[in-house]
Subunit: 190 residues, 2 copies
DNA sequence: AGTGCTGGCTAATGAGATTAGCTTTCTAGC
DNA sequence: GCTAGAAAGCTAATCTCATTAGCCAGCACT
């Protein structure tokens, strides 16, 4: 039997293609093996087990996302940069909803994942530092940013927005809300 | 063998207790059966299958959440109500992170689930109507609210906020951000 | 041509979901 | 109290999938 020439990256490629096409629920070693043209046990020559494959998948997605965010933020600052970041984030999710939904949520002690999360966070922090934020305020702002953006992403990727109103418009409102939250607040009228 | 006196509700109770204690990953029929003191196949007398159990779990969580939000919003309006809603939402997640994380995300055609989602949405819409929002604007506002609140909830329930800064403070900032987004915007300074 | 590593395979084990079919416990009605 | 039938449990069996063990061929380098 001719060798397929698989590699850890190739296995992740197959897994990514799979979840892109059929959603995160069908991510099994059996399905990945079938798509890679190989028997299931052969995958173990490249990845330790299913959990590891999930981890590598998450890593890949985090890196792709960071790449897009970095590119989008380059040469921009403050509101302009926040807007670019948010646009880039959603464009990734819209382009690859299955991939985004397949990402692991639980915190993972794997240092590669920690590093990837940190890189993603760093891009966000770099942009937020453009406002006069420091220390704890910067952390709180980053959490607010992530909550809004990730919340929208999860809901959209999972098909959680049922109504027909335009999602692009909703996202613009969300963007305005986030940007508004980064500026000093006028007195509220209740 | 004496009957355990199980019921669909009892099975869901066991599943809830399980995910509360050990997280969403261990939700299997085998584990639920063990906790209920019954052999795995016996569960099929009460729920059609694992997917159905997940659905019932989600339904239960949605209803509990709606109950809390409804109580919190009663007698309040506008910023006061939004604040109460958000506080109640997070308190539920903090009280039962496993339960929240175990909820199904994918849209489900089951009419019971659709109805439960609608009830939850209705509470939010009722509060947001206190601002001068109508039609599409109301929908966009509700989506922003859900994104922020659900995003924070998911990240917190999954342990996604690694840094030591106070989460309560972060959530207050998020609340301020959401409320700010519901008021007319002052001109931005970039 | 020879050797060793590597990637692929088959066989086997074990968990978990699901189905079939049997048995026992309640409950209602007599 | 006695019994028929439904309901609720159980065991046995099947299927899918993850994982491990152990075998064999292709490839790289001598």
């Amino acid at each position: 039997m001719p060798r397929v020439g698989l590699s850890p990256e190739g296995v992740v490629d197959a897994a990514i293609a799979l979840v892109d096409e059929e959603g995160p629920a069908v991510l099994t070693l059996a399905a990945v093996a079938a798509r890679a043209g190989v028997a299931t046990p052969s995958l173990y020559k490249h990845v330790r087990n299913l959990a590891e494959l999930r981890r590598l998948l998450t890593l890949r997605v985090l890196d792709e996302l960071t790449e897009r965010l970095t590119t989008a933020a380059l040469g921009r600052s403050r509101d302009d940069a926040v807007q670019a970041l948010m646009r880039a984030y959603r464009s990734y999710v819209v382009d690859h909803p299955g991939r985004y939904a397949a990402m692991e949520q639980a915190p993972d002690p794997d240092p590669r994942l920690q590093a990837a999360s940190q890189r993603l966070l760093d891009v966000i922090l770099a942009v937020l530092r453009g406002y006069d934020l420091a220390g704890a305020d910067l952390v709180h702002a980053a959490r607010c940013f992530r909550s809004a953006v990730h919340g929208f992403a999860v809901l959209e990727a999972a098909g959680g927005f049922g109504l027909p109103e335009d999602l692009e418009t909703s996202y613009q409102r969300l963007t305005a809300m986030v940007i508004g939250g980064l500026h000093p607040h006028p007195p509220s009228r209740g």
